[in-house]
Symmetry: C2
Subunit: 360 residues, 2 copies
């Protein structure tokens, strides 16, 4: 089922206001979900609504709490999200850093006491729009097994990096783990096998049964119980394929988020205080050279890569190519809502007496 | 054959002065190589000496050229290494950033017109010693095939990240590619097969014959000829194992180095102007909280990870554990010099009339 982005936005704004968010914050939350759906990142789109609403209703999310700026200098911010949705403190942080970096060339923010913030790329794309380099990262619930371990400990720990370019910025955005848990959940929902080295059981054998993998992930992410297994670090199951490098990348994110914020590390968000932490940075490339020249040089490099000799039948895509193509298509055709999400939002519409988008 | 670090240092300092480096720069260059040997990173130790000397003699390296600071603010530097060794501009940059970040909380530098700088970790460890977070990265000769490509284009692009901790800092340091070319060269020298998904041929079939892989890498890194193949991005050969994430990590480094510096991108260092570019950053964690507390929290996380349930017969190591253990051992036992390197430095000693370390 497809609905227009405009209809999705209108519906989401009404829902968020119904559960206590301000009009301004409801608009922001709606925009982050619609933006993800337009880009084809449906794991972070409207299918998260039911989970968000449940977190508001069980008190995990406090929609009326004000964000607090705890410390601020010309280059640096420490922010308390105060138990509200991650999107609110994150957009505030990124918009402030964009102003700062135009003067100081580099600026950074750490957010504590936060929650899910949508896609990491949403915030670093704000920097790209302003002609700046953006970096955005978050810790998550524990899902990932370090090299040689059989227990999950690390978050899937999203990382986004954007660089201004035409016709669209360079947007590298995703979990530092081999995959996000969302990709496994989607396969399980569709009863399809896992095609690669994504997850292991408690003996560290690769799992191809997505239902079995999804069960392990639900247990490690949402209960205090650990019977072993989890998502693999980038590099897969074997140390000889350098999976300790993926482990290192995940640890960099843990240090910049939970540790710098003095919040929970990923491992403790399922057993102790449930909070996430975020880290943002903006760099002004124009300090180093004329922005138009830097962009042209980056674009030339991307084009050369797109046209390298490649395996017949495949394509070489630069990070961002796929999501901007999806964006253009979905803006015309509407975004796809899967049957389970349609059910969920139908119940939400009824509960809050809000009209469903007509196409549903 | 083992020699003491002191004997290695004395020998290297004499050699570097003989070929025209100042006493101060010779001491720095020697320290970067001895430090790598002590840490067991022999690919970046004294075995590089012969290559360094050849680059001085063919005019690629200009040992008497002065580093030029082209632009500088309270947070930012653009530096011209002026064709001298990368170590010289890099140490200058990192020492300046350490001072800056103590005042501004974050500072960054880009170096153009540079060359090999040793290990990336050398510079970010300087930040860790000062209680700061250090980031260090460089582009390299072209060695790495993007996702689906059969031609090398990206550098192996080293990245280091350090975070202060006891008994030693967190030190994540290595190629963003699945492996550095040095690891393949060492296997080829010892006639051992490649154990994992490290390199592919022109049909993108994984190569296990290290001699064949080494031949491909020599061709792509040092000639204008490309008959195909190269090192894989982190994630290995298959797109379904998320090798596009390793590709993305490599591109982030290309953007922060060759593009921001307006120097050569990795792909062009073998065919056009031979220059490397570097990017450094220092962050002051004490802006976000008491340093002793942050360190203690990081250490607690590392210790919990070291003691997670793991596959019998394996160990879980935190980035840095191995190299600090090697450092302590090699400081006592001396560093190992392989037979081929012994031959090379014997010839260098003779050429410049310098005494070889006694043990050789």
């Amino acid at each position: 089922m497809r609905i227009t982005a405009a209809a999705e936005t209108e519906f989401l704004e009404k829902v968020f206001q119904s559960v206590g968010f301000s009009a301004e914050n409801g608009t922001l939350l709606a925009d982050t979900l619609v933006d993800a759906d337009l880009r084809g990142i449906s794991s972070h789109g409207i299918q998260r609504l039911d989970w968000y609403i449940r977190m508001v209703q069980d008190g995990t999310i406090k929609p009326q709490n004000q964000i607090k700026i705890l410390k601020e200098t010309a280059t640096s911010m420490l922010i308390d999200a105060n138990g509200n949705m991650g999107q609110i403190a994150s957009a505030l942080a990124m918009n402030s850093l964009i102003k700062k970096a135009k003067t100081t060339n580099v600026a950074m923010a750490v957010i504590r006491n936060s929650n899910h913030f949508g896609t990491a790329g949403y915030y670093s794309r704000l920097a790209a729009k302003a002609g700046l380099i953006g970096i955005s990262t978050t810790n998550t619930r524990p899902l990932v097994v370090p090299t040689n371990a059989i227990e999950a400990f690390l978050g899937s720990n999203a990382f986004a990096f954007t660089f201004p370019a035409e016709p669209h910025p360079f947007v590298f955005d995703g979990a530092t783990a081999s995959v996000s848990s969302g990709k496994i959940m989607v396969l399980a929902k569709n009863q399809k096998p896992i095609p690669g080295e994504w997850a292991v059981d408690r003996n560290r054998n690769v799992i191809h049964d997505s239902k079995k993998a999804a069960e392990i992930l639900s247990e490690v992410a949402f209960t205090e119980h650990q019977s072993g297994g989890g998502v693999l670090t980038l590099g897969g199951n074997q140390e000889e394929n350098s999976n300790y490098k993926g482990f290192g990348n995940s640890l960099v994110v843990e240090l910049l988020t939970g540790i710098l914020a003095q919040g929970s590390i990923s491992a403790d968000t399922s057993t102790g205080k449930h909070d996430f932490s975020q880290f943002f940075m903006v760099i002004n490339p124009a300090f180093f050279g004329d922005l138009a020249t830097l962009k042209a040089n980056a674009e030339k490099m991307f084009d050369r890569i797109r046209h390298l000799d490649h395996v017949p039948g495949t394509h070489i895509m630069i990070p961002g190519d796929r999501e901007y193509r999806n964006y253009d298509n979905n803006l015309k055709q509407g975004v796809t809502i899967d049957p389970k999400t349609t059910q969920e939002i139908t119940a939400i519409a009824k509960k809050f007496s809000i009209d469903l988008p007509q196409a549903l």
